[in-house]
């Protein structure tokens, strides 16, 4: 249990660090906060107006006190007010989040269902043509950035099939699952392709490592069939690094969503960040970045829990 206890203890610590970093980075923006907020219009303010604005936003207080009150807001889900949407940042984020979450999960499902079997297949045929083919494919997959693949997919669909994926709209899953899937399937393939390649590579090398372990030899020595050796004895051990990778990659998926949502013009969190940066809506930038980092951390905590499920050495502690 010490391992999990340690992870549970460091989680809030890192979260605190993340909040400090996000808070400070926005304060690092050159120029004063009022100008940053209002842009050129700030020049028209009188000193009195400036001072009252500063008092209103609390930026006349010392920085640690600003941080504490901001942190206090965070605990109540208050991420400030978005300038461009004139709504609470939290509301805006929650409107956009379902799309990005679904996109990331869908990509992950695609990547794992393709990657794990391919990796296992390649490992059991180590050195044979099918292994070489899988490895070549995985290498190319890993070297194809989502923005290249996305543009290529749109190109092929529009030029050769005369089909333009519905862009700019989003139908929630529960409203019309088919329309929803039609909108998300190509973005999800785009986003999950490189991830599938990494999963394939990791599964293959983990599987190769495990297949040369002594306990696999033991299983063979007692007459276990090849299928059972692979799926029952080797795979549970080989999945451990795959789970690690999935945790890390989920972060990349959330990040990669920025680019894929831009290509397919999907109104998700990624587009929101880009718009916020473009229009200097710092409360929104800060809120979205923090929100995504929080989700990433939660996923990694879940990954640590998954470890414990998969590996009794972690669950029960060492001797």
């Amino acid at each position: 249990m010490t391992y999990l206890a340690k992870r549970l203890l460091t989680f809030p610590l890192i979260l605190l660090g993340v909040s400090v970093l996000v808070f400070l980075s926005i304060r690092l923006i050159p120029g004063d906060a009022i100008t940053a907020m209002l842009g050129t219009e700030a020049g028209m303010l009188t000193p009195d107006q400036r001072a009252s604005l500063a008092a209103y936003f609390g930026i006349d207080k010392p920085i640690w006190s600003q941080y504490l009150s901001w942190l206090g807001g965070l605990f109540q889900g208050d991420l400030g007010i978005s300038k461009i949407y004139a709504k609470p940042v939290m509301t805006v984020i929650l409107e956009r989040f379902p799309l990005t979450l679904e996109l990331a999960l869908l990509s992950m499902v695609i990547a794992l269902t393709i990657g794990v079997p391919l990796g296992v297949l390649a490992a059991t045929r180590n050195g044979r043509p099918s292994d070489l083919g899988v490895r070549l494919l995985a290498m190319i997959g890993q070297s194809t950035p989502s923005f290249v693949l996305g543009v290529l997919i749109i190109f092929v669909l529009s030029v050769y099939f005369g089909f333009v994926p519905a862009m700019g709209t989003f139908t929630p899953l529960f409203q019309d699952p088919l329309a929803n899937l039609g909108q998300l399937i190509f973005p999800a393939i785009t986003l999950g392709f490189a991830f599938a390649a990494s999963v394939t590579r990791i599964s293959r090398s983990a599987m190769l490592d495990v297949l040369s372990e002594d306990y696999v030899r033991t299983a063979r020595a007692k007459g276990v069939s090849t299928m059972s050796v692979v799926w029952h004895h080797a795979l549970p051990n080989a999945l451990i690094p795959v789970v690690t990778l999935s945790g890390v990659e989920f972060g990349y998926l959330l990040g990669g969503a920025v680019i894929v949502e831009q290509i397919f013009a999907l109104p998700g969190l990624g587009r929101l960040v880009l718009d916020a940066i473009g229009q200097r809506d710092y409360a929104l930038v800060q809120g979205t970045v923090l929100f995504i980092a929080f989700n990433f951390l939660v996923v990694n905590l879940l990954v640590d829990l998954a470890y414990a499920v998969l590996d009794p050495r972690i669950r029960l502690g060492g001797r």
């Binding site: 696999v216 030899r217 299983a219 063979r220 020595a221 007692k222 007459g223 051990n237 001797r319």
Partner: protein, 576 residues
């Protein structure tokens, strides 16, 4: 009567051209039902590959049988040539006809399945048992290999068991399928000597109970003496000699067998100790260790310490110039921690280490167990040997180079070794390099921590001889740490036996080995295999090493000593 197993001219090769890379080069032998064959050889002799060919596990390690036959009588009366069998037939050979146990109990069990499930699987595949029947069968097997409290251990994962217990589980798993032949590939090499004795006793008893045949593979010719009916000696892929155990051991025909029997250290209960004791009444010790205590606290965290492992608890000894003190004990006895504490590699909690040195700024040097780990692979020999000198303010000049060449020469390595890298040397040569490096600063004491344990038996003997020569030439005192009683017998003037962090017996080597007084020393010495201890019945004994984890602030009671001879002291045991 047809033998159970008949191997003819077996050849096995590896890699893309197995004929060119043969590891087994024409091995033939027969094994009758119920018989035990001991295969003896050093690393690279092809003994394990021969064994792995019998159930064709060698295929999965990249090996291929290039020619020969392996005829196996199966339980249903048919004979099968394993070399030509398909994977389907082999699956029934493995487990049902031929069971196998391996060297590394730590890695040979699947870490994600419980030991109960792993035994049940064997019962399910090979005996068709399911559900409760399989569970009961597994439980019965655990009982048969004498795992205490088997019922609750069924749900344990391998990492929750000690090495000896895991090896018992391996045996239970192999025997669950009631094989007619059990192959044991160095099954006790990774275990402590008293645990080895327990496992050997168990194997002998189960063999007699079930009437199965056994192939026992080992590098230790003394170990097969106790269990085998026949012995086969292998060297570089060839059988150099085979015959009845008594014949091979008493009238060896081949030079290599004679070499294994004579040149290799064998335990003789104190008859092979050194006689050149440098200890006199008026000499001053070069090191005096007084009440050495090393503890590692456990669970240090927010909530304070849970306790401490008392790795070394109140150890005293002294070491005279030119003398070897052998510290023996099993894993966890604190012998290596003691060695490291003498060199300040482990922080000590208490204790005085007094060194009287006249000739060196760093009078104590060390040689480690693993010659592959103690030489930086990225530095050449010149840089490796120069490091101690440079660290102590010398410069890389001609005088230093001369000293390096002198020492290389002295440990039996060529001068041109200077420009080579560690991976270009064999294990024995690397250990010689480590010895040369330890002598660079002209020390008075060399701590040898299992310094020959990682070497092949015939190399061991040569390195031991070199150490004794160097000791005389340079007047070195050795602190020789080892788990191997036979090796210690050869080199030590005095012996200290450690158990659970404490010295339980110390004195002249001859006295301690021939007339052990403490109950642990007796147990240890009786567990050591020896050529003359043939077909001996090891008593089944499941004594476990006590936990060294103590609550915070615990202090052991003061040791009471009894004198058993002129230089022989024994710790008094608590009456229980």
């Amino acid at each position: 009567m047809t033998p159970l197993l008949s191997v003819r001219d077996l050849r096995v090769g590896f890699g893309s051209d197995p004929v060119a890379n043969e590891v087994v080069r024409g091995v033939s032998f027969d094994l009758a039902a119920g018989q035990t064959l001991g295969i003896v050889g050093e690393s690279g002799s092809g003994k394990s590959v021969t064994a792995l060919s019998i159930n064709r596990l060698v295929d999965f390690g990249g090996g291929r049988i290039t020619s020969g036959s392996i005829m196996l009588q199966r339980a249903d009366g048919t004979a099968l040539d394993v070399t030509g069998a398909n994977e389907h037939a082999l699956r029934h050979v493995r487990g049902r006809d031929v069971g196998m146990i391996f060297q590394e109990p730590m890695t040979s069990l699947n870490p994600v399945h419980t030991i109960g499930a792993q035994i049940e699987e064997a019962l399910r595949i090979n005996r068709g048992l399911r559900g409760q029947a399989a569970r009961n069968g597994a439980l019965a097997m655990l009982d048969r290999v004498r795992i205490p409290d088997a019922k609750s251990r069924m749900g344990y994962y391998p990492h929750q068991l000690s090495g000896g217990m895991r090896q018992r589980v391996m045996i239970a798993m192999a025997l669950a399928s009631s094989p007619r032949l059990l192959i044991a590939d160095e099954p006790t090499t990774a275990l402590d000597v008293t645990v080895q004795a327990q496992i050997m006793a168990l194997l002998a008893e189960l063999r007699d109970e079930t009437g199965m045949a056994m192939i026992f593979i080992t590098h230790d010719i003394g170990l097969v003496a106790g269990i085998a009916d026949r012995i086969m000696v292998m060297q570089s892929g060839l059988v150099v000699e085979q015959g009845d155990t008594a014949t091979v051991l008493d009238t060896p025909q081949h030079d290599y067998t004679r070499h294994l029997l004579s040149a290799v250290p064998h335990f003789t209960a104190g008859r092979a100790t050194r006689t050149d004791s440098p200890r006199t009444e008026d000499s001053d010790p070069v090191i005096t260790v007084d009440d050495l205590v090393v503890r590692f606290s456990i669970g240090r965290g927010l909530f304070g310490s849970k306790g401490a492992v008392h790795a070394v608890d109140g150890v005293d000894f002294d070491l005279m110039p030119g003398e070897t003190l052998g510290i023996v004990g099993e894993s966890g006895s604190g012998k290596s921690t003691t060695a490291r504490a003498v060199l300040d590699l482990n922080a000590r909690k208490r204790g005085q280490i007094t060194v009287r040195s006249s000739r060196s700024r760093r009078p104590i040097q060390m040689v480690f167990q693993d010659p592959f780990a103690s030489l930086n692979p990225r530095l050449n020999v010149e840089a490796l040997l120069a490091e101690p000198a440079i660290a102590n303010g010398q410069h890389k000049d001609e005088a230093l180079r001369e000293r390096m060449k002198f020492l290389l020469n002295r440990v039996g390595l060529p001068e041109d070794a200077l420009t080579r890298y560690p991976h270009q040397f064999s294990g024995g040569q690397r250990q010689r390099l480590c010895i040369a490096r330890a002598l660079m600063l002209n020390p008075e004491v060399v701590v040898l921590d299992e310094a020959v344990s990682a070497l092949d038996v015939s190399v061991q003997a040569k390195v031991l001889d070199l150490l004794i020569d160097l000791q005389r030439e340079f007047g070195l005192a050795y602190l020789f740490i080892s788990h191997d009683m036979a090796v210690v017998e050869r080199i030590a003037h005095r012996i200290a036996v450690m158990f659970a962090g404490q010295i339980v017996e110390i004195g002249a080597a001859q006295a301690v080995l021939s007339d052990p007084q403490h109950s642990y020393t007796k147990r240890l010495i009786s567990a050591v295999p020896a050529v003359e201890r043939r077909n001996q019945h090891f008593a089944i004994d499941t004594t476990q090493v006590p936990s060294l984890l103590r609550p915070v602030g615990y202090e052991p009671p003061k040791a009471q000593w009894r004198q058993a001879g002129p230089d022989h002291h024994v710790r008094l045991e608590a009456v229980s």
